[in-house]
């Protein structure tokens, strides 16, 4: 394995690390904005579900990016 390791190209993350702070900020503000919007919606399953799902997905990625920005490196 040692010889193989010397010849391999270096590791590239899927999302470059320098972008992570900005990504975290944008995604989390969108998440909080959508959560606020969700709280103003009247009862109507379809619209509520889509907003909830969208907010959750954005929040998921935003939280992981936030963890990496502050140095926890999950």
């Amino acid at each position: 394995l040692q010889q193989l390791h010397k010849t391999l190209p270096p590791f590239q993350p899927i999302i470059p690390v320098s972008l992570l702070p900005y990504l975290a900020f944008i995604l989390l503000t969108l998440t909080f904005g959508l959560a606020f919007y969700f709280s103003t919606l009247p009862k109507g399953t379809v619209k509520e579900s889509t907003v909830a799902i969208l907010a959750s997905v954005l929040g998921g990625f935003g939280t992981v990016a936030m963890f990496c920005t502050v140095g926890v490196y999950v």
Partner: protein, 504 residues
């Protein structure tokens, strides 16, 4: 009582295919050079060998029991070549000596003396014909071979160590001339054993050098094959060298290293939990802070007191932290060197200068945790052929001139990694795998644990790990957080539809 002693030399060496006859080589000269350090002793033995038979190509080294116990690392080479020869360990020899004692003419007491020699063999790269010569070099590192003597010292006393070894270098072949030389790193040798009644020599046995920091024993002429028990009983003697040593003798009692690989943050975090022990002479009396400050002010530090430590850490690191059981220790200074991927020169190390919370005197312990983050680009690569990542993790931080008694290296791979393959530079005393759960984990991360004993600065190797991370595993974290957030939205969703009014 009349006693007659009959020596019966029953040299029944079990001749396996690897051990040749003892008549195939002759040592024309054997020179052993011992460099006396603090915790570590470096031995270099040069054998000038002459072949007595055609086609001789397996040479056997012999180690005494004392050497075998303390030797930690051994390498054999042909002098001038840098590629080491592979050593084969044959263990304890099977020779023994039968000593028949006749008491009162009819009571026979048998005493069997078993051999205490250990054999190692090397295959020479080129077989030698009769009267052809070769020079072989055997290098070893010995740990726990020196001890502080006197075992207690006051705060302002000098530090002196004692090293015990055997007078003769053993060899299963005849030796024409042999000598042993002990050297310190410039510190004076206080005393050395002057052996009495030693055969094979004329004139003085031990001579001290002009500088006072080296002693030579020998030369000894015309030794017969010396690794059999008969020779050992008659001639082998213990010699001790008592010398001064001017640096603190450090030993690392335990080292727990945790290396965590993160793919989301492209980061390798290495954390060392170190238990440091000063193996020098124990403190006699109380520790006087006044005396300590006076020594620092007058610039005459005691040789066995550790106040500062400079560690070499990898290049390109950032966010280093150093804390102990009380809390963060701020008396440290990290000088970072950019790594190769950051545009720095290769082969350079960052330096961390630590001042422990209190000075370490002889016999004192100090435990602390040291960690840092480094970019994963410096350590891991992507193998496109097999679709896997290969990461390298250094085994230990080098504490110069000291021995790590118990080391454990735990490498934590990203969540749900599969197809893990490891390659360690030298075999660990135990290897296991477990699951480690940390922030934002659902199924936990696979961790591989290597345990080692007695590592020295010859053991600074790198562990290579290959693993696969499928995309589904990589996305586990955001989806886990997303599901948790959706749970909160779901509760709000239900909350709107539940009527908790008491009256309509």
């Amino acid at each position: 009582m009349v006693m007659h002693r009959y020596w019966l030399h029953l040299s029944t060496v079990v001749l396996s295919l690897a051990l040749p006859s003892w008549a195939s080589f002759e040592n024309t000269a054997v020179v052993r050079s011992i460099d006396l350090g603090g915790s570590l002793v470096y031995t270099t033995t040069t054998y000038n060998v002459k072949a007595l038979e055609d086609g001789s190509n397996v040479y056997v080294f012999a180690l005494t029991e004392r050497e075998q116990e303390t030797t930690n690392w051994m390498e054999a080479r042909v002098k001038g070549h840098s590629v080491p020869l592979s050593l084969e360990n044959h263990g304890l020899s099977h020779e023994y000596v039968l000593d028949l004692t006749l008491l009162l003419w009819y009571i026979v007491a048998e005493v069997i003396t078993y051999s205490t020699t250990y054999y190692y063999s090397v295959a020479l790269p080129k077989a030698l014909d009769t009267n052809q010569t070769a020079n072989l070099v055997l290098e070893t590192v010995q740990t726990h071979a020196t001890y502080p003597f006197p075992p207690e010292a006051a705060q302002d006393d000098r530090q002196a160590l004692k090293y015990d070894t055997d007078l003769f270098v053993l060899s299963p072949y005849k030796t024409l001339v042999q000598r042993t030389k002990f050297k310190t790193v410039g510190f004076p040798i206080l005393s050395y054993t002057e052996p009495k009644g030693v055969a094979f020599t004329t004139g003085s046995i031990a001579t001290k050098s002009n500088t006072g920091s080296a002693v030579t024993y020998g030369p000894f002429h015309d030794l017969p094959p010396s690794s059999n028990p008969a020779f050992l009983e008659e001639n082998q003697q213990k010699i001790s060298i008592h010398y001064e040593f001017g640096f603190p003798m450090l030993s690392v009692k335990t080292l727990r290293r945790v290396a965590e690989i993160s793919h989301w943050g492209a980061n390798l975090n290495i954390q060392d939990e170190i238990h440091l022990y000063n193996a020098g002479p124990k403190l006699k009396g109380q520790f006087s802070r006044l005396e300590h400050q006076a020594q620092a002010y007058q610039r005459r530090p005691a040789p066995h007191v550790l106040t500062e430590l400079a560690l070499q850490l990898p290049a390109g690191i950032h966010s280093a932290y150093y804390y102990d059981t009380i809390g963060n220790v701020s008396t440290s200074h990290l000088r970072v060197v950019p790594s190769a991927s950051q545009g720095g020169l290769p082969g350079r190390n960052s330096i961390l200068e630590l001042r422990p919370r209190y000075p370490l005197l002889g016999g004192w312990n100090y435990s602390f945790t040291l960690g840092w983050d480094s970019p994963l680009e410096d350590y891991a690569g992507w193998d496109a052929e097999k679709g896997r990542y290969v990461a390298s993790v250094p085994i230990m931080t080098l504490f110069g001139g000291s021995v790590v008694e118990d080391a454990e290296v735990k490498v934590i791979l990203p969540e749900a990694s599969i197809d893990v393959e490891v390659s360690a530079p030298f075999s660990p005393s135990s290897f296991s795998s477990s699951t480690h759960t940390t922030y934002l984990d659902t199924t936990g991360r696979p961790a591989v644990v290597f345990k080692y004993k007695n590592l020295t600065d010859k053991h600074t190797g790198v562990i290579y790990i290959a693993y696969k991370v499928p995309l589904s595993a990589h996305l586990k974290k955001p989806t886990a957080v997303g599901i948790a957030l959706f749970g909160a939205f779901f509760v709000a969703f239900l909350w709107k539809r539940v009527d908790l009014r008491l009256e309509k």
